[in-house]
Symmetry: C2
Subunit: 341 residues, 2 copies
């Protein structure tokens, strides 16, 4: 039983007496306590594979910022690695895959039996669930199949992901084969996360915005649907950044919650999706401003979304150079907001 | 008088007997003939300042690809440079400003008397206009004030432009002062382009997509409006990439044409903007596909937009690694499309 289950009630469309709030990327990045842990290990990937440290940094924002949920500290790229495609995290540049997927034989070699390779995540989840002791829900997550596919083809971050998109146009059959394998792996991964005690999961489609609607409908949406149908034990949050065109279609999936970036106006999202809980969507840059601006912008957003069927969050991950006191103030503003306003 | 004025007639909403087509970034990037010129000079910036070579590479796509308009080969960052903020073009990385705008005194030091500093562009325009000899219209262009502002603060390309956005939240007054100076400079620049014979101008808001609608309405739209009101001599095309939320507002400006990226569905754009010519919006990655796919995708788009009040284009600049034969085929498909279909 959870002491604070506001987030789960909001996700399920149940009444909440105040709006729940958490921040994407809250574990890591902005807290001095996180940086201390981070500098004690040899690189990001060592941290991602260290269950005790994952547990520690996952709990930090709960203890220090007072958020209404913990999200496990991990990386969406653990899935390609567990499928057989290793990556490096290059300091201040981002992920780099020494080998990428280029042809049919590359896809054939990938395994979908990923659970044995992800034991470090499951160990971390169990430790964290115990350590949380029911204070707040624990959020699990995975990358969306399209976004994982994009990294596996492109091999690194990109403004356009033109190589990944090229494969969609030049070899749709191979693309679907790879997307299918990623989806199978992701479902197995998420189901095991649920077994380890996560209360809700979020699917991050970070690079949705480079696709046209027609391509999203053909190459991304069916796999998102498969995930929302397979994960029936806990609520599923779908977050497709910059995919303004897909809200209605997400509204017709089995997901419980739809995450929004800050380019989507709350009222417009409510019009397009009437029966789902919405999550988001403060511009992360608002946290650079003074406290009065943070309060004004946040309360304007809360007013626009309304207090029910809503989970407050940023519209993307918190930026690394944000003062954690500002982030803490944002959390306070939401938690002090009277829903009778 | 122009031999082929299809683009201008489409821009003005007049009847066209076939759909005009050009490609953003058609001058440069994909043509072997461009690469030959490019390798004959010492870096991109030398080329941008060399009127005879600008003229040559501007004409290449007209001669080789058969496009229905020429767009002057240049860079949106000539404006900050003419205002006093130099930039370098770092090979395979992009623009870099050694000094950026950080405080009030940095803004004060900038000049808006930019025309004398941009003589190389005007010389190139006059040469090109003469060389075109009325075959097709000549397109002039400039960066949108927000996008120029973003580079002047951030100092380089960025996925988030978080430093530029930070200034909008932390010092809106200084932000408006800088945006105002950029706009004044841009209007002077565009007016002189018109004097040199450009038939139409396009304003590129390449980084519009990082702003929320509220921020775009406060910090970008008013300056776009000022430009469309100041440039009354020729039609103005507004193109704000990834700013799906601003189409209706663009529809209420004095612009003649609204450019669209490929995340916008043609039918949706027609619903939101009823009285403007639309331009776009093929996913540049379609040009990686085989000819049959290029034909199918292009004709599907033409069908969706309809043949009137429409200028065919990609949804963003053509990618550097596209085979120019594929680009040429795209142009042919549009030009062979029967508007009675």
């Amino acid at each position: 039983m959870l002491t604070n289950n506001l987030l789960l009630r909001a996700a399920k469309g149940e009444y909440v007496e105040r709006i729940p709030v958490w921040m994407m990327r809250q574990a890591g990045r902005i807290l001095p306590e996180y940086r201390a842990v981070r500098s004690s290990v040899n690189g990001f990937k060592e941290l991602v594979k260290h269950p005790e440290l994952i547990c520690e940094v996952t709990l930090q924002p709960v203890d220090i910022l007072g958020v209404d949920a913990a999200i496990i500290f991990s990386d969406i790229l653990v899935i390609p690695e567990a499928m057989g495609l290793n990556y490096e995290m290059v300091e201040s540049k981002g992920p780099l895959f020494p080998k990428t997927i280029q042809q049919s034989s590359d896809v054939t070699q990938l395994t979908t039996d990923v659970v044995p390779n992800l034991q470090y995540v499951f160990d971390a989840l169990k430790l964290t669930k115990d350590a949380l002791n029911g204070r707040v829900p624990l959020i699990g997550f995975a990358g969306a199949p399209w976004t994982i596919f994009a990294y596996m083809i492109e091999g690194k971050g990109s403004k356009t992901f033109s190589q990944a998109k090229k494969m969609l146009y030049t070899d749709p059959q191979l693309s679907h084969l790879l997307l299918d394998k990623i989806t199978t792996s992701t479902i197995a991964y998420l189901k095991e996360q649920v077994s380890c005690g996560v209360d809700i999961v979020q699917i991050f489609d970070s690079w949705a915005g480079v696709l046209s609607k027609a391509q999203y409908v053909e190459f991304a949406l069916p796999y998102m649907q498969r995930i929302t149908e397979a994960i029936s034990e806990v609520p599923v949050i779908l977050f497709a950044k910059d995919a303004h065109y897909i809200l209605k279609e997400f509204g017709q999936t089995n997901c419980a919650v739809i995450g929004l970036d800050w380019t989507i106006e709350p009222q417009k999202a409510r019009e397009e999706v009437s029966r789902k809980t919405l999550q988001g969507n403060l511009d992360p840059c608002v946290l650079y401003a003074d406290k009065q601006t943070i309060k004004t912008e946040t309360e304007r957003m809360l007013q626009a979304f309304g207090s029910q069927n809503y989970i407050c969050n940023l519209g993307h991950g918190v930026y690394p150079d944000v003062d954690f006191e500002k982030a803490k103030y944002f959390i306070e503003v939401v938690q002090n907001y009277s829903i009778s306003k």
